[in-house]
Each structure stands twice: as structure tokens, then as C-alpha cells.
């Protein structure tokens, strides 16, 4: 149990909150910045991981396991979302030969 005392050392929960927020912001930035749908999907995964990190940090801090259980369900959902998202992309690619979201704007007019 060498590391269980993490929060009693100089590192506080706030450090992890900060780290998770930065990761989340990077994910959001990626969603807004990138135009390739696959990378967008990856950025969303990054956001979910930031959430996981935050939850695990709180869970350890409170000494309650339900935060970590929630993380499992987030993983479940992330896997399901990834499956569906990728199959949507495959479908799109088959019809349009691209995954660049800028080219999907026929509905706008």
C-alpha cells in the first residue's frame, strides 16, 4: 500500500481535478478543431477518460467504491458508442469516400 497515502502527501485532490480538467479541455478543443470524424471520435473518448480520471480521484479521496463502478459503466458506454460511431463512419465512407465532416453539409441549405 505504498501509494494509498497519495492524498496525504503533497499532491491533493485538487491536482487531479486540474489534470482532469485540462484533459477534458483538450478533448473539447479537439472536437472543435479537428475535421476528421474519426479523430473527433477519439477526442470524445479523451473527454470520457478525463471524466474517468476525475471520478477515480474522487472515489479514492472519499474512500468509496461507487465512483470506480461508475467508471466501468462509462467504459461500457464508451465501447458501445465507439462501435456505433465507427459503423456510422464506415457507412458514410462507403457512400461518400471521406470522413471529413466539412463535406457533410448537404442538409444545411
Amino acid at each position: 500500500m505504498l501509494l494509498a497515502t497519495l492524498f496525504e502527501s503533497g499532491i491533493s485532490i485538487k491536482h487531479y481535478m486540474l489534470l482532469a480538467t485540462v484533459l477534458f479541455a483538450i478533448g473539447v478543443f479537439g472536437v472543435l478543431y479537428r475535421k476528421n470524424a474519426i479523430i473527433l471520435l477519439m477526442c470524445i473518448e479523451l473527454m470520457l477518460n478525463a471524466v474517468n480520471l476525475l471520478l477515480v480521484a474522487f472515489s479514492t479521496y472519499f474512500g468509496k467504491a461507487d465512483g470506480q463502478l461508475f467508471v466501468f459503466f462509462i467504459m461500457v458506454v464508451a465501447a458501445a458508442e465507439a462501435t456505433v460511431g465507427l459503423s456510422i463512419l464506415v457507412l458514410l465512407y462507403r457512400n461518400a469516400r471521406t470522413t471529413d465532416i466539412r463535406l457533410f453539409n448537404k442538409l444545411k441549405n
Binding site: L19, L46, V56, A78
Partner: protein, 170 residues
């Protein structure tokens, strides 16, 4: 304090790789950086004594989900694509949006008061497999079962979308 150092090292690396996911122009590199990010996040979990989550994170995320991504990338031959060349306005607005999100949250966190934990006796064991398994199959068994609905829906959906119809082959 060595623990501090470990944290700062891991944290810095995580942020760095995450940034590379977003910034690298090559989709394949993005995927690999993302895998690396997941490994580093898992290391953070270990640091927080959440070993089981750490392992699952590697298996599910780095192992399964990212392989799926790689697979699709290779399947669609997308690894040639260059980075984003959107208008500069878009880039700036993306930076501003994400930056302001970060600033707002961080500013708010500066004087956040966190509820003091009421640590039960076995707090240190919270993240162990035994403890988690116990909870998952007793208290949280219904969400566990309900997530099967989610999976079957996702499976059916993926089959529906990705399956080639007969008409196209003809």
C-alpha cells in the same frame, strides 16, 4: 517527495500525449498517442490505488477500443490524410472556447471547498477487485444487467449500419 515527482511526471506526460492526439496531422499517430495517453492514465489510477480500474482501462480502452479504431483506419485507408486545414477563424474560436472552459473551471476550483471524506475502515481497499466485484454483483447488479440492453442495441445497430446490402453487391 518522490510521490509528487511521480505525479508531476505522469501528469505532464498525459497532457503532452493528449495534446499530440489532437495536434498530430497523421490519424495513425493520433491513435497511437491516444493509446499512450490511456496507459498514462492507467498509471495514474495505480497511483490512486485503483488497480482494477487501471487494468480494465488498459484492456478495454487501449486493448479493445483503440484496436477497433486502428482497424477502421486501416480498413478505410484513411492514414494518408493530413491535419486540419480549416479556416484560421475556426481554429481561434476552438482555442478560445476550450481555453475559456479551462479558465472558468480552474478559476472556480481555486476556492472550491471539497466535502471532507468520511473514510471508512476499509477505504484503502476500495479499488481492489474483491471489493468492486462484491459491489457490482450485489448492490449494482441491475445497472450491470441493464448495460446488456445497451450492448445488444449497439451490436444490432452496428450490424444494421455496417452490413452491406445485397442490392449494392449486385
Amino acid at each position: 517527495m518522490s510521490l509528487d515527482l511521480v505525479f508531476y511526471l505522469l501528469g505532464g506526460l498525459t497532457i503532452g500525449t493528449a495534446l499530440m492526439v489532437v495536434l498530430s496531422s497523421h490519424p495513425m499517430r493520433s491513435v497511437l498517442y491516444l493509446v499512450l495517453t490511456f496507459f498514462l492514465i492507467s498509471a495514474n489510477y495505480v497511483l490512486m490505488n485503483a488497480q482494477f480500474v487501471a487494468i480494465v482501462n488498459i484492456i478495454v480502452y487501449a486493448g479493445a477500443i483503440m484496436v477497433l479504431f486502428l482497424f477502421v483506419l486501416m480498413l478505410l485507408n484513411l492514414d494518408k490524410e493530413n491535419g486540419p486545414k480549416g479556416p484560421i477563424v475556426m481554429t481561434i474560436s476552438a482555442v478560445v472556447a476550450a481555453g475559456s472552459l479551462l479558465t472558468v473551471v480552474v478559476a472556480a476550483l481555486r476556492d472550491a471547498v471539497i466535502a471532507q471524506p468520511v473514510l471508512p475502515a476499509n477505504a484503502a481497499n476500495a479499488g481492489l477487485v474483491e471489493n468492486l466485484g462484491q459491489l457490482l454483483f450485489t448492490k449494482y447488479v441491475l445497472p450491470f444487467e441493464v448495460s446488456s440492453v445497451l450492448f445488444i442495441a449497439a451490436m444490432v445497430g452496428a450490424v444494421l449500419l455496417a452490413k452491406r446490402d445485397k442490392q449494392i453487391i449486385d
